[in-house]
């Protein structure tokens, strides 16, 4: 190894010369565009998180504060003490987790039938489900509301502020996609493996449980996360079906805080940060599983 020597002027020049040769117009445009994309994507998220750590004085000043003076938890304290956001988090979990679990179970069964078994009416059903997927949610909410109000008064349950009713409507929204994604995945598992198990005396349900499901774990995970995310983020149905603050899911409570007569953006941003964080973390951790599902329409809309 050569002895370390101070860099001579000549070498410095070649360094710059090297850089100059490396930078072509193409590379320059590429770098600028990439930087533009990254800033415009990340700035809103930075602004959300940083605003949540500002004090009321920093939020209400004449000039925006770009970097909060300290990581102050004023907004979070107000959020949980005054707005009782804890129960909204719990409500969201109570809606999103069952939606996700039930959707995975039901769509696994349905998707298996669609992918592996022959039955009359399969095409009609598949097309029907696909059309359903393109239906505007706003068109369905009026009849659903009227219908469930009627059914509810007959069977004696309240439609408003009833989380299981909300779960049911989310299932109707998520099952078509879940079924599609899983059926596509099941088709990629060679049928020969299952036939071998059938010949060895397994029943169909045994085959699903012992052979197909273990092979489909990645797809099951991604469907679970998508349905969780849809239920976690859903706004319109929750807005119509929930009236009581006790029952609000996070999106509705955030909307309420935002529309409070005295504006408190730092609290809104704190709540938004809490709501966004799990989704982004889940996504970053499992990106590989999830990307394919995204382009398959995992997040409708």
């Amino acid at each position: 190894m050569a002895k370390r020597q101070p860099i001579s002027d000549g070498e410095r020049l070649t360094l710059i010369g090297h850089l100059a040769r490396w930078i072509t117009w193409q590379r320059f445009i590429f770098a600028v565009t990439l930087a533009f994309f990254l800033t415009s994507i990340l700035f809103p998220f930075y602004w959300m998180a940083s605003s949540s750590f500002k004090t009321y004085a920093e939020i209400g000043g004449r000039k925006p504060v770009y970097v909060p003076g300290a990581l102050r938890l004023d907004a979070y304290r107000e959020l949980f003490n005054y707005w009782r956001f804890g129960r909204n988090v719990i409500n969201s979990v109570r809606v999103a987790v069952p939606t996700s679990l039930i959707a995975v179970i039901l769509s696994t069964l349905g998707a298996y039938a669609v992918a592996r078994l022959q039955f009359r009416g399969k095409e009609v059903m598949l097309n029907g489900i696909l059309i359903v997927y393109l239906f505007p949610g706003i068109l369905l909410i009026i009849p659903l509301f009227a219908m469930l109000a009627r059914v509810g008064s007959t069977l004696g349950f309240e439609v408003q502020d009833n989380l299981p009713v909300l779960i049911l409507t989310y299932l109707a929204q998520t099952l078509p996609v879940a079924l599609y994604m899983l059926a596509n995945y099941f088709r990629t598992i060679p049928a020969e493996i299952e036939q071998a198990a059938l010949i060895d005396g397994c029943t169909r349900l045994g085959v699903i449980w012992r052979v197909t499901l273990p092979l489909a774990v990645p797809a099951l995970v991604s469907v679970a996360i998508y349905t969780f995310m849809i239920a976690w983020n859903e706004f319109l149905y929750a807005l119509v079906f929930l009236n009581d603050r006790q029952m609000f899911t996070m999106p509705i409570q955030i909307n309420t805080i935002f529309n409070d007569p005295s504006p408190r953006p730092h609290v809104v941003m704190a709540a938004s940060t809490i709501m966004t964080l799990p989704v982004v973390i889940l996504f970053l951790a499992l990106e590989r599983f999830l990307e394919e599902g995204l382009s398959a329409g995992g997040v409708k809309g």
Partner: protein, 319 residues
């Protein structure tokens, strides 16, 4: 399965016991829960919605909706004559025209930005995996969070961050009320849509880009094609189908979209679109018949787009 004589099930036709028939019954049993939920909570309500649009349904008779009085086309007539719906000149577009302008322009912008992003990420560079994940953030983050961050960034006071930046740069002299100015509000809602949904277009296009046969580019290079020519004559034709399909899908979803505009502007300042109008008729004035009629008009417009699209664009693409 063997069936003994005298077993009542042996009275059933032979086919009942065949392997095929058993499999079909199993299939139906497996599909049934999904089918019931989807058809009961989507298909039936959709048909029911047509019925409601011809009836007078308000809060008073919501519990007795099946006996609501028939009013013929009255609901539709009231929607068409509503000032929030109909075209009243360039100063006031009405929700029908706004919806069309809004969904077509945001879909087009989403696709253009998605294409640029896809081309960007198609090049290998250090940190590409991370950049790709970051690019998906706007699409996976909850709509309520991102809409409110945007509103907070676009805050009309001088302390609003965009106002501050633009005033420092000398672009504007006075703070602007971005989401409360006609024209500007619609423009920003369209920009928001592109910001939020370009990752979807990007993913679709990226998948196709990575499947393009590299020998095509090599051949073009041998022929002396410039970067632009390679893009124009190799990349774009390869992407045509995906671009068409993505455009259609995004157009439908954007046209149906309620949350974004409701959260950003509440439908004010020239941004009222049909889904938001439907909501206002139904859950603000509690006129469910009128709301259902608006939703049906929305659906009919959607179907018209689809038919035109499939018959014109798809046919050209095949030729």
């Amino acid at each position: 399965m063997s069936v003994s004589r005298g077993d009542p099930s042996s009275l059933l036709p032979q086919r009942w016991h065949s392997l095929e028939a058993r499999e079909a019954r199993l299939a139906w049993a497996l599909v049934l829960p999904t089918a019931l939920i989807v058809f009961g909570l989507v298909l039936f309500p959709a048909i029911f919605s047509v019925w409601i649009s011809f009836r007078n349904v308000g809060l008073n008779n919501l519990n007795d909706v099946f006996n609501a009085p028939f009013v013929g086309l009255e609901n539709y007539r009231r929607v068409f004559n509503d000032f929030a719906f109909k075209w009243q000149g360039f100063r006031n577009w009405g929700a029908a025209v706004t919806s069309i302008v809004y969904s077509f322009s945001s879909t087009a912008l989403t696709l253009v930005i998605g294409l640029i992003a896809a081309l960007l990420l198609n090049r290998p560079f250090r940190g590409r995996g991370l950049a790709r994940a970051v690019f998906l953030f706007p699409y996976v983050a909850p709509i309520v969070s991102v809409a409110f961050v945007w509103r907070w960034i676009l805050d009309p006071r001088p302390s609003g961050v965009l106002n501050d930046i633009l005033m420092r740069l000398g672009v504007i002299d006075l703070p602007k009320a971005y989401l409360a100015t006609r024209g500007l509000a619609l423009l920003l809602v369209i920009v928001f849509e592109a910001w939020r949904y370009f990752p979807f277009a990007m993913l679709m296009l990226l998948a196709r880009l990575q499947a393009v046969d590299t020998t095509l580019y090599e051949a073009a290079e041998v022929d002396g094609a410039s970067t632009w020519q390679k893009f124009r004559y190799v990349t774009l034709p390869e992407l045509r189908y995906v671009l068409g399909a993505t455009f259609l899908l995004r157009l439908i979803w954007t046209f149906n979209k309620f949350d974004d505009i409701f959260l950003l502007t509440g439908g004010g300042f020239g941004t009222n679109v049909l889904p938001v109008l439907t909501y206002q008729f139904s859950f603000k004035s509690y006129d469910f018949g009128k709301g259902a009629a608006t939703a049906m008009i929305l659906l009919v417009m959607l179907v018209v787009f689809l038919v035109i699209y499939v018959s014109v664009v798809m046919r050209n693409a095949e030729a």
